[in-house]
């Protein structure tokens, strides 16, 4: 078991800064997900943590002990790799036993613990199976067992579900979550899949360009994203560009391009009056509202439990031809009981507490 502290961890590859100075505490037993696009530095964080990469600057502490200069083999961390990195010339049992053999545990203890680990991941009795004969999901579970059997202080996972198909991914997400709840182990989980992050994490850190842009619970990040990048990365979002009119406390007022009246919403980080920004309203908050803004249905997609509508707001000229330079505003609505069809003109609206005003991020 271990609490983890990154103190000013920085990484350069040549002259390229892969990781800005990172200060981060991960509590004992916490499941932290690093979420971000490829190249955002999340795997770099993981590799520095495991000791596969040396940071250019900064120190790493486990339970208050500086481990920065300790080689991977002495860190006692369990890593699950993206493509599992199972030893192809060993069978399932030998793969799982590898760490215990390296630590020179007695043979009877190894056998017992390997069997226990395989039971935990529901692969009992497959000890002698060649890893190449397993399905992707089974290989993934062998990798998990191999990492867990050494009872690591910290569990590290690098996009471990990336190679699985959608249904299997969902099952394994829940399985990992259940195992974590039953036996909380400090875990750092790297993914670019927002759904994985939402299902499993205690906290999510959204990364971009080698920096954590926002960290918090899934609820925090979804309801109060710091900027348009986080909003776009977590959940579906309508982001309508505009200009900040005023900021008052936690709220800001924005003039959205093409909307007649200004909109007020929760203010994101580092907004400035007069600067460009975006208004965020999630599709589930865009509703049918008589007397609201008129919009035309451009697309209607039936998704079973709900219907997604692509809507075009006509602009300030009120339904007449839009001015060539300002294209019509488009946004999505996702509702479960709104039967509109293509080319219908509907009136839409949203509650002001479901709106945020967020700074734009230029990538």
């Amino acid at each position: 078991m271990g609490a983890l502290r990154f103190a000013g961890i920085t990484k350069f590859f040549g002259v390229v800064r892969a990781l800005e100075p990172l200060d981060l505490d991960v509590a004992e037993g916490e499941f932290l997900t690093l979420l971000g696009p490829s190249g955002s530095g999340k795997t770099t964080v993981l590799n520095i943590c495991a000791g596969y990469l040396a940071p250019t600057d900064g120190r790493l502490f486990v339970n208050g002990k500086d481990v920065t200069d300790i080689p991977p083999r002495s860190r006692n961390m369990g890593m699950v790799f993206q493509n599992y990195a199972l030893f192809p010339h060993m069978n399932v049992g030998e793969n799982v036993a590898y760490g215990l053999k390296a630590k020179q545990r007695p043979a009877d203890e190894i056998k017992r613990r390997v069997d226990e680990a395989l039971k935990k991941v529901q692969l009992s009795g497959l000890n002698l199976r060649a890893v190449g004969d397993l399905s992707g999901g089974q290989q993934q579970r062998v990798a998990l067992a191999r990492a867990m059997v050494i009872e690591p202080d910290i569990l590290l996972m690098d996009e471990p579900l990336g190679a699985l198909d959608r249904q299997l991914r969902k099952d394994v997400q829940l399985e990992i979550r259940r195992m974590h709840v039953a036996n909380p182990k400090t875990t750092i989980y790297v993914t670019h899949d927002q759904e994985e992050a939402l299902v499993m994490s205690d906290r999510i850190a959204v990364m971009r360009n080698g920096r954590i842009v926002q960290i918090g619970s899934a609820r925090d990040l979804y309801q109060r994203p710091a900027d348009s990048f986080v909003a776009r990365f977590l959940g579906e979002s309508n982001l309508l560009p505009g200009r900040v009119l005023s900021i008052a406390g936690y709220n800001a007022e924005i003039a959205v391009d093409g909307l007649e009246s200004p909109v007020t919403g929760k203010a994101g980080n580092s907004l400035a009056v007069g600067k460009s920004a975006s208004m965020l309203v999630r599709p589930e908050h865009v509703r049918h509202r008589p007397g609201g803004i008129p919009a035309r249905v451009v697309e209607a997609i039936y998704l079973g439990e709900l219907t997604a509508l692509r809507l075009q707001i006509a602009g300030p000229s009120g339904g007449r031809l839009a001015i060539a330079e300002s294209p019509p505003i488009e946004l999505w609505s996702r509702q479960n009981n709104w039967a509109a069809s293509v080319d219908d003109v509907v009136e839409i609206g949203w509650d002001s507490e479901s709106v945020s005003v967020l700074p734009d991020v230029t990538t």
Binding site: A50, G51, Y52, P71, P72, R73, S74, R75, N76, M77, G78, M79, F81, N83, A85, F87, P88, H89, Y98, G99, A102, K103, R146, I150
Partner: protein
């Protein structure tokens, strides 16, 4: 129909490649002392001649000894070189790889002339040591290349995974790297064994009347006139080469 045609064509191509190799075999079992296909009269006469002649037996023994020693030396140096090259980057890697492949690229006759000078100045001319060193040099590129290919196919994450599970570098080499590159090493070994075993040009320069290899002995005989014992020697060589190839296949059937 097209299947029959393509199979027939493949058979023809195979025959074109393989038959000339085996054409010598019947001659080894001919009673007569000249080459005739097929033989008029089957006999093991020349096999008795071959194995009862001490000079043929010595040549075969020398060849086996030199080939084994050269292969062992080529493997030790070649595997070490391949492991070293794998750690190099950029132009150093290209440079060292080029040097390692040198003996396979330089015309053998050029190699033979320069080696003649070097080996003589070391006082190793006509010795087993001299020939073993020269043959090991010929085999080295095959071992290094084969091992490099296996190393290149090795997922670098496997080593990271092993290190993360607590294995020290020696254990990682023994349990992860080595098992993955053994097929390449064995392939390279057999190649360098066979290369040494049938090598003539270097051997002609570096052997002496008291230390001849089988191909040199054959070469000397056949230069004067054809004798059927050469066919026997050739058959022995074919059997050994095929045996080595088959052994590697059987050992590493995956």
């Amino acid at each position: 129909m097209s299947r029959i045609v393509s199979n027939a064509f493949a058979g023809l191509v195979a025959a074109f490649f393989v038959l000339p190799i085996f054409a010598i075999v019947p001659a080894a079992f001919n009673r007569a002392s000249y080459i005739r296909l097929p033989p008029d009269d089957w006999s093991l006469r020349w096999w008795f001649v071959f194995f009862s002649d001490p000079s043929w037996r010595r040549a075969l023994g020398n060849s086996l000894q030199v080939a084994c020693l050269a292969a062992v030396l080529a493997v030790v140096v070649g595997v070490a070189a391949a492991l070293g090259v794998a750690r190099l980057r950029g132009k150093w890697r290209a440079l060292v790889t080029g040097l390692l492949l040198g003996p396979a690229i330089v015309p053998v006759i050029v190699l033979a002339i320069s080696l003649y000078g070097v080996v003589r100045s070391l006082g190793l001319l006509g010795t087993t040591t001299g020939l073993v060193l020269a043959h090991a040099m010929l085999g080295l590129p095959y071992v290094a290349l084969n091992t490099s290919v296996s190393l290149g196919a090795l997922d670098p994450k496997l080593k990271l995974a092993a290190a993360g599970l607590g294995a020290d570098p020696l254990r990682i080499f023994r349990t992860v790297t080595l098992p993955q590159i053994v097929p390449g090493i064995v392939g390279g070994t057999i190649f360098s064994f066979v290369t040494s075993f049938d090598e003539v040009v270097l051997s002609v320069f570096l052997t002496s009347p008291s230390m001849k290899t089988l191909p040199v002995r054959m070469w000397e005989d056949i230069r004067v006139e054809y004798v059927p014992t050469v066919a026997v020697a050739a058959t022995v060589m074919i059997i050994l080469a095929l045996g080595a190839g088959a052994a590697s296949r059987l050992l590493f059937r995956r």
